[in-house]
Symmetry: C2
Subunit: 158 residues, 2 copies
DNA sequence: CAATACAGTTAGCCTTTGCTAAGTTATTTT
DNA sequence: AAAATAACTTAGCAAAGGCTAACTGTATTG
């Protein structure tokens, strides 16, 4: 067996790019797993909110098309969202957001807008910015979000 | 039923923050789903590479601890990685990366470093930067990565 | 060298998120 | 108002990624 070269349990006394202490490391991964649990939910809720706003109503078929997913998948997801108290609907009718759903949609929309604007301010092309924003939006902390906002503002007012 | 207010199939002639055309919208979500498929794989491979480099070897127990996950989960994942030709190992012994695994680890490490450096250059605190980098790293396009690199360089040389 | 402790694996379970195929309800068209 | 089309739901399947519990191998140490 190879002896680990002086593996101390405390912070780290080795090179600059060493591994973080393992409990901190684990926390990072936990944060990502956690984000994954809510992000799809948020995407659905955000999309439903957007559809209602822009097209007057949110129908499963539209959601399926925009998400690039089968209608059956949407049905199942909507059942879950109803169970979580985010969406309300009657069978075979279009969808509505509950108050909690509205809140979540508003938050998501805002995050999304901030990240998208930031990427554009960074000089990213429109198509790429859209794709990256969709992926990044759920992994950006409040702190980073604030920094992005500051940056965009500064860039745009020059 | 509510009549959708002039829903044309072509690009969009409505307000500034309207929904993107649905095929483009679907592509965004597809990109995210796609990233999700590979990102865990990349995290494992990156971590295995880091452990080998910094501690001389990569053991399941270390991985489990650092990922904040049970050993059984690691075993299963390693089996998958072996099936994909990214990892090599003999039962009950420590893990190695194949050539393809090394390549993937190098790419991941580089992406990770660029994003982390960028967040720091933006003024984000260390702990937050680490967490956000872990989440964002898999959702950043080449184009954005390049922009981040440019930005960090510029910031640091002033 | 036997006993114990530690590391790794296997089996079996659960949830999420996707799918297809088949059935049901609503809407539109004739 | 009947038939046809479109929208929605349900049932059943699969893969990924978690878990615990039970088992098997490896290493340490008395």
């Amino acid at each position: 067996m190879i002896e680990p070269p002086d593996e101390s349990p405390s912070p780290c006394l080795c090179e600059a790019d060493a591994l973080p202490p393992s409990d901190q490391h684990a926390q990072q991964y936990a944060a990502v797993r956690n984000a994954h649990e809510t992000e799809l939910l948020e995407d659905y809720v955000e999309l439903i909110g957007d559809l209602i706003e822009h097209q007057g109503e949110a129908r499963s078929a539209d959601i399926a098309q925009r998400m690039g997913v089968s209608q059956a998948t949407v049905s199942k997801m909507v059942a879950r969202l109803k169970g979580l108290g985010l969406v309300a609907s009657k069978p075979y009718r279009s969808l509505f957001l509950t108050e909690r759903g509205e809140e979540m949609a508003a938050m998501s929309r805002q995050r999304h807008a901030i990240v998208l604007r930031f990427l554009r301010a960074l000089g990213i092309s429109d198509d790429t910015a859209r794709i990256d924003a969709e992926g990044m939006e759920h992994h950006v902390s409040e702190e980073t979000l604030a920094a992005m906002q500051r940056f965009s503002q500064q860039r745009e007012s020059s």
